[in-house]
Symmetry: C2
Subunit: 152 residues, 2 copies
Amino acid sequence: MSDEDRGAMVYALLRETRPLVLNSARVVEASLRGDGLSVGTRAVLEMLAEHGPMTVPDIGDRLDLARQGIQRHVNDLSTRGLVESRVNPAHRRSVLIATTPAGAALFARIRADELARLGAMAAEHSAGDLATALRVLRSVNRDVRQRATDLR
Amino acid sequence: MSDEDRGAMVYALLRETRPLVLNSARVVEASLRGDGLSVGTRAVLEMLAEHGPMTVPDIGDRLDLARQGIQRHVNDLSTRGLVESRVNPAHRRSVLIATTPAGAALFARIRADELARLGAMAAEHSAGDLATALRVLRSVNRDVRQRATDLR
DNA sequence: ATTCATATGACATCATGGTTGTCATGTCAG
DNA sequence: CTGACATGACAACCATGATGTCATATGAAT
């Protein structure tokens, strides 16, 4: 496959992502509204729930966002009692952020709800196709991320 | 495949999209900055360049955005001489928006630049894999979009 | 051990753009 | 003819990504 053809296919792929993110954010926000969460705070809660306690800058690195914005979300979640600070054995100044039991329970409920609804999506595709799509998306993500990193 | 497994795969897919959109927007914006365009105005210009003249509400429908925001982009593009209004034979009030020669030329240049850079992305995947990923993404997009539409 | 670059939290500011609302006017179906 | 809806214009709000600053803590280099 020529580079032009590949470029055209990746171009088409990327074009799907914007509306997909917008629409999924709308759906997710709608069910999150009752809990006072946004997609941003939800993403932070998810990161902590899945990968354990970490510092604010670490969350930012993982989500490709500046630590300042993450700090806002963490402060918001902390006010709601969904996350809490813990002393960092490896760093006195930089505290670890961890989910509280309430935060972990809330996210578990949110994810269960979402998984149930997502089960009906893209029903005409096989598990193999979904796996292929995931692999491709991760590769594109990796390469685009590299480009974005080069900008800094 | 069970619904739970499918849900988990689509969940993983969607999780890739947010950082992908963010990072690609950063890369695209960086090269667009010189032309005074943003990803928003670029999307409108792209729509007009690829699908021909259409009304502001039509662009909004196609991009899953409110016509008010599209109007802002159109006004901006119009000020820069990249798009222009034409009388709509099917509607006296609702004008058609079309690219000017300058706008069409600018977008052609932008797309050529982007295609060239995208040719190096996800190089370890076959054309078939890319095609599969595109089909899956379109299906997910369609179903998520349906959910979002149901919210209104 | 001292020094210096960097990391971190806290705080502030700004721009983009998605969302919502209003109003006058044009359009179209009943 | 009338009422429901579409459209352009304009306005306002707000979440959030981007950026900058500053004091302090940390770690590495000398």
